[in-house]
Symmetry: C2
DNA sequence: GTCTATAATTTGATAGAC
DNA sequence: GTCTATCAAATTATAGAC
């Protein structure tokens, strides 16, 4: 049995690329380093993703899908509205403390002016879908029921902003516990 | 009179480097592109800043100094406390709408795990000094006078986080006006 | 599907002329 | 203080063997 024929490194490549982008940024990642991390040659990365842009889009799309899947249904009737909202904060906490990485789309969002347009589009989609999710979740709370759509949208955007910024500030200051100091009242209404 | 002798491009080099880092990130910037933007050769950039780390530190240090200088004295008795606090929001708004750039230290903060240690240290210093400034400014407000230092520090960190995140979210969504939707109640107490 | 080999370009950095 | 010239290494990407 040949050692490396008919393998499929696609998922491992996405895993390595995601981790590296979330640590170094899109411009800080190279095909060779991804390949080294997976244990293949860079040409194998190009086999699955012909260009860096194509790889970036695939990573961002999968990240967005997984993020929303982990959040679950914002209208989940079996759960308290605040319990649902807390999941956003839990995801950010996990990113910071367990993975010790940025949110992928927080990182890409900072670099957005320099990204291939297809990657920038997928980054935009992440924030659109997450603010939609938050608007729906917030509308279920006692507070949210009495608010206009516009007010809910503002609260959603603020919660997302604070979450992304909190990762940056806590990492910059070198102390993950700072995350706990940064309140997100928008997610407890 | 010789064309380019005895010139001093140091400030222009810092200007170009800052603009480019704020758009592309630290890893997305090269000595040659900075040199091209200034109209010199890359060896002239190395003359002032022998390594990329040295350049990064110089840019971050100047940015921090200018930022705090623009904010002014947080205890300025001639101004209302809320008027003073609003300056943080004004600086972020200017960055987003006029310069169309990230905050330098928001960008560096996202990449902090991959920066030369001296650049990471200066990024940390930016957030430390700014949270100190905010704690002092907040302590002058009617609300702040009644709070503990710990509570003021939390509010300061949240305001900084929301500011950095708002730049990312507004830029990712491609609409600077979104910044106005993101309330920063911490700066109006 | 993975490899070797290689192309064309870019990168951070240095030596030395002026 | 700025330049030309150059280096070794790294980058994205492609061609073609297996």
């Amino acid at each position: 049995m040949p050692r490396k024929s008919a393998q499929n490194y696609e998922v491992k490549i996405l895993d390595a690329a995601e981790t590296m982008i979330r640590s170094r940024g899109y411009n800080g990642v190279s095909f060779r380093e991804i390949a080294d991390a997976v244990g293949v040659k860079s040409s194998s990365v190009h086999y699955y993703y012909p260009t860096k842009g194509a790889l970036g889009v695939a990573v961002a799309r999968r990240y967005t899908d997984n993020f929303l899947k982990t959040l679950g249904n914002p209208e989940d009737a079996s759960k308290d509205a605040n319990e649902v909202l807390e999941k956003v904060r839990e995801l950010a906490r996990y990113s910071l403390k367990q993975e010790k990485l940025m949110c992928l789309c927080g990182m890409l969002g900072a670099e957005v002016a320099d990204l291939p347009s297809e990657v920038a589009d997928q980054t935009r989609s992440f924030f659109l879908l997450n603010s939609d999710w938050l608007v729906t979740a917030l509308s279920r709370t006692d507070w949210g029921r009495a608010q206009t759509e516009k007010t809910l949208r503002k609260a959603a955007l603020k919660a997302l902003s604070t979450m992304e910024g909190a990762l940056i500030v806590a990492r910059s200051l070198g102390d993950p516990e700072i995350f706990e100091d940064i309140e997100m009242d928008e997610l407890r209404v």
